[in-house]
Symmetry: C2
Subunit: 275 residues, 2 copies
């Protein structure tokens, strides 16, 4: 478990969670931004498709798109078990890498297979050294320290509506949800923030990304929106007194819904309209 | 969210999770050790009873015991809502404090009420500056970054058997369970480690404590045992493919059961018998 605080002096790369179903054939605004922040035409990308039940196909889709967009190199790391994820031969794959991309699938597969392995350690090290890390859908959820593992749909919060598990820990101040509007996930994100209101909830729609720059400045790109649930001024919640699956009360929860071009600062927790 | 990595150069205090139901009238070995590591007869303790549904009574019990054992001062901070937990007047209570103690109760009450407040921030700051922090039962679970919030009993792991929420984050490499043998919690601790095998599982019996020193050396005290679940050599788990509440498979999970006097090193993950 190697946590990289989002505030503080430590060097780290751009972190780009994507809400899933990003455009792969049109303008490809999100994947172009990923490529640009990974080094543009000098980018050497590692694609990690471990979340997917069809890893070869999933990995190859992104290899093809990034190559079409102009990446210098894009390679899939296809590990199927923990032994492979601990193979010292993996280390050389990180030589010269400028970006790491996680495909979608199931975040529990990703973490139960990679958590605590050499491959996970290399990814965390690469991010800490300044490499851009991005992920879509399950690959977005997996980036944070507190990962939404499962949950129920619905727009209002209820007890035990969401289940958390430890993610890769590339950011520790937020939990990330994806397919947000499309799968009606506001309630579970509010529930996660009610568990511990120090956590920021980031809900990302499909074809939308939340770019987190090393200096804590963030911005939204894509066709949908990013919903931010800020519990820092939460006045009250009865979550500890409710029994399983009952609706819970929260008062003073702050919500921002930001579309493409809007910015947000993690340190001050202030949103900012496009210039 | 302020995470203090358990490895690394940052200063921090002793951390003492207790499995609940510790002796308060006999030799009081555990509470005596808490007192000793909090400054002995120069100790000035803050008791935080927020987890309890009867905070005044719970807090006063520990004030009385620590005073009888020779503490220079012991004071209860009785905050009942988030407004009180954000009162700037709380800051002065931390002047000269040498130890912080969390009572038992419900860890969800503790975190949903204190998470992200000034009081939580002061506790984390105090720990980072070298102050000893201890907690019993719910107060033990709440110390870690990944906190076991709820779960089912039973000795073998199953899907969704345990639910995690963000705790105070005073250690990020382990999750802590309590009343461990008495409430039959081995299965849920193994499930938590299967979620992400980088996490160490620490299951503490009643009247037992796991003392975590700043240099990563740990030791067990009390009448029961501490069960350590180490997933670092885990070979395989099918947790991502099982549906809700089904039994899951794990292979290569390492287990240590340590009794009073045994030591454990978090960096090397090596247990060590008493000298």
């Amino acid at each position: 478990m190697s946590v990289i605080p989002n505030r503080g002096p430590r060097r780290r790369g751009h972190l780009i969670p994507i809400g899933g179903a990003e455009d792969k054939i049109g303008t490809r605004a999100i994947l172009s931004q990923v490529l640009e922040l990974s080094g543009g035409n000098r980018a050497r990308l590692l694609i990690i498709p471990t979340a997917s039940s069809i890893p070869v196909e999933s990995g190859n889709v992104y290899c093809r798109v990034f190559t079409e967009l102009g990446a210098a190199a894009a390679e899939v790391i296809d590990v199927r078990n923990r032994q492979q994820a601990n193979d010292p031969g993996l280390e050389r794959l990180f030589d010269g890498v400028t970006g790491i991309f996680f495909t979608g699938g199931d975040q529990m597969r990703l973490l139960s297979l990679l958590g605590g392995t050499l491959l996970a350690e290399k990814i965390i090290e690469a991010f800490a050294s300044g490499i851009t890390v991005s992920g879509t859908s399950a690959g977005a959820s997996a980036l944070s320290e507190h990962m939404i593992a499962f949950g129920r749909s619905g727009s209002s919060p209820s007890q035990r509506m969401v289940q958390l598990a430890p993610g890769f820990g590339l950011t520790d101040c937020m939990t990330i949800d994806q397919h947000f509007r499309q799968r009606d996930r506001l309630g579970r994100l509010m529930t996660a923030v009610a568990y511990n209101p120090s956590l920021l909830g980031i809900g990302i729609d499909e074809d939308t990304a939340f770019v987190i720059a090393p200096g804590d400045d963030c911005w939204v790109i894509g066709s949908g929106s990013v919903t931010i649930i800020d519990g820092s001024e939460l006045e009250h919640t009865n979550i500890a007194t409710m029994t399983q699956h009952h609706s819970i009360a929260v008062t003073g929860m702050k919500v921002h819904v930001l579309t493409s071009g809007y910015r947000y600062h993690l340190g001050t927790r202030q949103p900012c309209p496009p210039a």
